[in-house]
């Protein structure tokens, strides 16, 4: 992205953001609350157009996971992944069940999502990462509301994706978990 300026509600939050993400790179967008992490990641996903200046070029397939998980409360975990509105999720029942098993939800496949805990719902959302073949993942606060085991699982999945030549941009308040592979973009630098 080149010379990106971003306004939210007539207030400029970011100006002059320049960065490039290559295949196999892992980026964390860091900064205090309100610095524009979510706004920037939504702009990268193409969801923000109003108040956006500059150029964002993306030539790979995207997966975006925001704060909201796009799960229907009355549908089961399995159905939610099967009919996911992103359309990018592979729909083989076996693959879905395997992904749910991987995120530790074996036995919950046919449970309506509103009967799962917040952390378990989060895990249903994250199961997408085992199903989707998008190359660039945009994850907004992926470590929210999941326990230590879940976080470790997510970390290993992200590491695997990056090793596989995929790229990940995520936001987090927490300190880096990934060691040297991680590159950090501190958004405080781009405050107007």
């Amino acid at each position: 992205m080149t010379d990106v300026n971003l306004e939210r509600g007539y207030r400029r939050v970011l100006s002059g953001v320049n960065f490039t993400v290559a295949a196999g790179e892992l980026w964390q967008l860091a900064g205090a609350n309100g610095v524009g992490k979510t706004s920037l990641i939504r702009a990268l996903a193409g969801l923000v157009k109003i108040g956006l200046e500059g150029e964002i070029v993306c030539n790979v397939s995207l997966l975006y996971q925001g704060h909201a998980l796009a799960l229907k409360p009355l549908l089961t975990a399995e159905e939610n992944l099967q009919f996911h509105p992103s359309g990018g999720v592979s729909r083989e029942r076996e693959a879905i069940n395997h992904a749910l098993e991987t995120v530790g939800l074996a036995g919950y496949e046919t449970q309506p999502v509103n009967q799962l805990s917040a952390g378990q719902q989060r895990r249903v959302g994250l199961a997408r990462l085992w199903l989707d073949d998008a190359r660039l993942w945009l994850l907004d606060e992926p470590f929210t509301a999941i326990d230590v085991v879940g976080a470790a699982l997510l970390e290993s999945r992200i590491t695997e994706h990056v090793a596989d030549g995929g790229s990940v941009i995520f936001t987090s308040h927490q300190d880096s978990r990934f060691g040297e592979a991680l590159q950090t973009l501190d958004l405080a630098r781009y405050a107007p």
Partner: protein, 227 residues
């Protein structure tokens, strides 16, 4: 158009239908609303069959309009809150057509059910029996138009605080043609004449709505998510 688009749209339709069927009580609400309001008229206007019969077509359609207004305003609210709208914009498929699957599910659960039970309500309002068949057809077409118009309003106001009032202001004027043509068709049939020209007008509205409304919904949803 991505190759598996048809599969995606049918999946989304199944998702809405399945979600709706999981809570069948919610599907009854519009019908109960209808029943309640319909029972108010004989109480308010007096039970004289002649008077009710003369007013029945108009009363029926006004209640249909209002009941549609109360439910269609929240059409995209759940999808907005749970992030589904963001994901469907991210998908390679058309936002407009995906929104149309949602309207289709909404119409099947509201308009079609209403059309099916409408003969009972028609009898309660002393509607002439010759008009009942026309009423069912007119309702099927008319509620589709109402749902499509309501969905445009819902897409434009989703995510707004107190979007409800704005929604009524936006949508009710657009409901007027349906009211006029719908009442026209039923009255024509009640007087033993051929209602097909009125039904054709409703059909034309439905066809136009099916083509134009998805475009407006798609744009409305994109703006709503960008807020």
């Amino acid at each position: 158009m991505p190759p598996n688009s048809a599969q995606y749209y049918s999946d989304q339709l199944r998702r809405h239908l399945r979600s709706g069927l999981r809570r069948p009580g919610d599907l009854l609400n519009p019908i109960l609303f209808f029943l309640m309001v319909i029972t108010l008229f004989p109480l308010g206007l007096g039970p004289s069959p002649e008077q009710l019969s003369a007013l029945s077509a108009g009363l029926f359609w006004v209640v249909a309009l209002l009941s549609n207004l109360t439910i269609s305003g929240r059409l995209f609210a759940a999808d907005y809150e749970d992030g589904s709208l963001e994901q469907l914009i991210m998908s390679p498929h058309s936002t407009a057509l995906t929104a149309l699957t949602e309207v289709a599910a909404h119409w099947l659960f509201s308009g079609v059910i209403l059309a099916i039970v409408s003969p009972v309500f028609a009898a309660m309002l002393q509607m002439p029996t010759t008009a009942v068949g026309t009423l069912v057809v007119a309702l099927l077409l008319g509620t589709l138009v109402l749902s499509l118009i309501g969905a445009i309003g819902a897409a434009l106001t989703v995510g707004l605080h107190r979007g409800g009032t704005l929604l009524s202001l936006l949508v009710v004027p657009l409901y007027v043609p349906v009211l006029i043509f719908g009442v026209g068709a039923v009255n024509e049939a009640a007087q033993g004449r051929d209602p097909s020209s009125w039904l054709a007008l409703l059909g034309a509205l439905a066809a136009m709505g099916l083509v134009l409304a998805p475009v407006a919904m798609g744009v409305g949803i994109k703006i709503a998510v960008d807020r």
